[in-house]
Amino acid sequence: MSDLSAPGFPEEEVRRRARAGAAAAFPPAEEYGHVLFGAGQPDATGRPPRPDALDELRIVPPLFLPQRLAKLIDLGREPDYRDVELATTIGGFASALPVYVSATGSTRAAGGDLGLALSRQAGALGIPMVIGENVVPVNGYGRLGEAADRTLLGRLRAYTEELPDGLGGVAVQQSTEDADAEVWNLVHSDPAALPLLESGRLAFELKVGQGAKPGLGGMTVLEAEAAAALGDRFGLDPLFGDGRVLRAATPGTFTAEILRQQIRLMRNNYPRVRIWVKLYPGRDVAEAARVAHEAGAHAVVVDGAEGGTGWAPGVFLPHVGLPLAECLRRLAAEPPPSLLVSGRIWEGARAVKSLALGARAVGLGRAALLAVAEDRESGLRRFTECLALELRLLISALGKYAPDALDREDVWSPEGFGITPGR
């Protein structure tokens, strides 16, 4: 330590790196499993985040409302916000809301009873849920006596037990490492998944990378003992120097042909299962979405570079990947019919803007986990009641009565985003 200082320079960050070495590329390891990472936080130098282009948009109701007139004629009375019908289809599933629960994988933040409580509440709400990657290789499947609260089977059962008839569905991810554990084949041949399979409420989600760290694979922090149990299935990096290790999954290698053929093989091998494809916000997201749709994916999921439950290097969130709004802009020319998006969604406005820009539904990631953390029994239900009310209020204000009636005219930005020329 010296008395040297450098005002205006990120001095403290430089000093942290000088003390901790490579570990300083990550947030403090003590925060792992307790802090959900994402955009919207001050950066390393304490500067507030730049405003997000999606948040900057305004929702702009018109004065003349032909769709409200149609609804009035239909109802024989003036419609109000309670007449907005939020039920929709999401990637081949019927859903009570244009909302699904995004993937939570093997990370500690989503582990234990939180993952189970989340599954139960999502099931009870009748909204689709994604079960994230690496759960089976890390926590087990659950058939051979592993602790049920962490396993894939545990989450699947918790969800299914609460699920109303005819609603919802589960999408199960499989990463490169999951492929070794044959997660999809396992679920596909398991008696517990049979009710979902037979009622058309099972999807497999092909994961093309990570929303929070585009170009990298999933990362978590493990105690040395837990890491040793994983053997050579994952890359392990002891960079924290305190016994804890970084577990890094590979991102997997894709080309247009690899993506196309993987989707075709999924359709070939699992003809009764819906196929979802999750894309990170890469610069060629529109081309990848087109390839996925043409190869027969039932849903294309775009995960904006906004946050996650795992562990991301500090340099990624503020610097890497397209913002969600830009993904939607690039997808606008040829949006896949069942486009699902996630990325810092928690209230009605961001959801309505995403739906207006072409999304069929929005995913709740950190919001769902926090809501369940607040109340294991009913947190997500109450949170969703509030979100649903906001959706109804906003959609009815636009003179519309269903989420899929929203379009780009419904939003405005100073830069002309979303405005069709001449309007």
């Binding site: 058939r143 499989q174 490169t176 490492e177 492929a179 070794d180 044959e182 084949n185 396992l186 596909h188 041949s189 008696p191 049979l194 092909l206 053997g231 590979t250 997997g252 290698t253 894709f254 042909e257 690899i258 196309r260 053929q261 993987q262 989707i263 075709r264 093989l265 999924m266 359709r267 070939n268 091998n269 699992y270 003809p271 027969g296």
Partner: protein, 336 residues
């Protein structure tokens, strides 16, 4: 976990008492037919210079190309090993020792539960596996035809009493024994199925119902060739001048019995195999021994595997494939 899955009423199921199955005259006859088929296959293949190998049962990796079925993991001194779902990787490797090999290989595939009722899936079964260095797809299509004709001819000639016991009229094979099995490309099969109102995908494996429909419209076995990429494992060679199609085939039995055999010309190019592994969602990391071998060079080859119980079922005219096994294992059904 339940002991069994509900099945359609019409599906014949094995008796819960294995003794009753083993002592049934039909079982004895079916197993004798099976023995004759295998004995004839050995005679035929040895006569053509093939070497019979004993196939491995476990290994660090196995064939991922089995449609939607789960592999069985075993703990091999702390390493995750697999029971073989097919011998394909070892067949290619074995060509370093001999140019023409065959084996009668046990396979275990945890098939989806719904297959318990298809009459043509077993979770444990055997394949007559054949591989020929330097052969083309069309070479082994011809070989498979000659082999099946020889096997069936031998069974029909040697076992008239068994056929009588089974109520199987040997005249069912009159056309088969003339050879000249039909050949139809996958795209033509799709067109034929659509023509009779069956919505078959052009990009996928023929579905079970589609196979049965094609099979029921024919009087002798026939080959379906040139399946699209995305329907098979990474080892089937892609047509060099017709990308998207594979130089592979299935052999289907007539009378609605469906698929008997799958085969292909193999890809033995290292970079192509790694790329194709990714296209089939596989992690090349776990195929290390195989990829190291391929990188050093394994012979170009073609080959096939005939489902022994399925062929027996067809020849013996059995209602279900489990009747061609002494100790049948159906998906999800707990049995000896």
């Amino acid at each position: 976990m339940p002991d069994s899955t509900p099945l359609p009423d019409s599906t014949p199921m094995p008796p819960t008492d294995p003794g009753r199955h083993l002592t049934a005259p039909a079982t004895r006859s079916a197993l004798r037919v099976q023995q004759q088929l295998l004995s004839a296959a050995r005679e035929f293949l040895r006569g053509r210079g093939f070497v019979e190998l004993l196939p491995p049962i476990i290994g660090p990796v196995t064939d991922p190309g089995a449609r939607g079925s789960k592999q069985v993991d075993i703990d091999f001194y702390g390493h995750r090993y697999k029971l073989m779902t097919s011998a394909i990787l070892y067949k290619q490797a074995s060509l370093l020792a001999f140019d023409k090999i065959f084996c009668i290989a046990p396979n275990v595939r945890l098939e989806p539960l719904e297959t318990a009722g298809t009459s043509r899936h077993l979770a444990e079964f055997h394949q007559l596996d054949v591989e020929v260095a330097g052969a083309s797809r069309d070479d082994v299509v011809q070989l498979a035809e000659d082999l099946v004709v020889h096997m069936v001819d031998s069974a029909v000639r040697e076992l008239p009493k068994e056929f009588a016991e089974l109520g199987r009229d040997p005249q069912a094979f009159a056309e088969l024994l003339k050879g000249s099995f039909g050949r139809i490309r996958h795209a033509e099969a799709v067109a034929e199925l659509r023509g009779i109102g069956h919505p078959q995908s052009a990009e996928a494996e023929l579905d079970w119902e589609g196979e049965a429909l094609l099979s029921a419209r024919r009087d002798r076995p026939f080959f379906v060739t040139d399946y699209p990429k995305g329907s098979r494992g990474f080892y089937d060679r892609e047509h060099p001048d017709d990308p998207g199609l594979l130089r592979n085939f299935d052999l289907l039995a007539p009378e609605g019995y469906g698929e008997l055999c799958s085969g292909s010309q193999r890809t033995n190019d290292y970079a192509e195999i790694v790329t194709r592994m990714r296209e089939t969602g596989e992690n090349p990391q776990k195929y290390r021994w195989y990829l190291d071998l391929v990188r050093e060079g394994v012979p170009a080859s073609a080959g096939f595997g005939i489902g022994v119980e399925r062929l027996t079922r067809y020849v013996a005219g059995l209602d279900a494939v489990w009747q061609a096994s002494a100790f049948p294992k159906l998906a999800g059904v707990v049995s000896p």
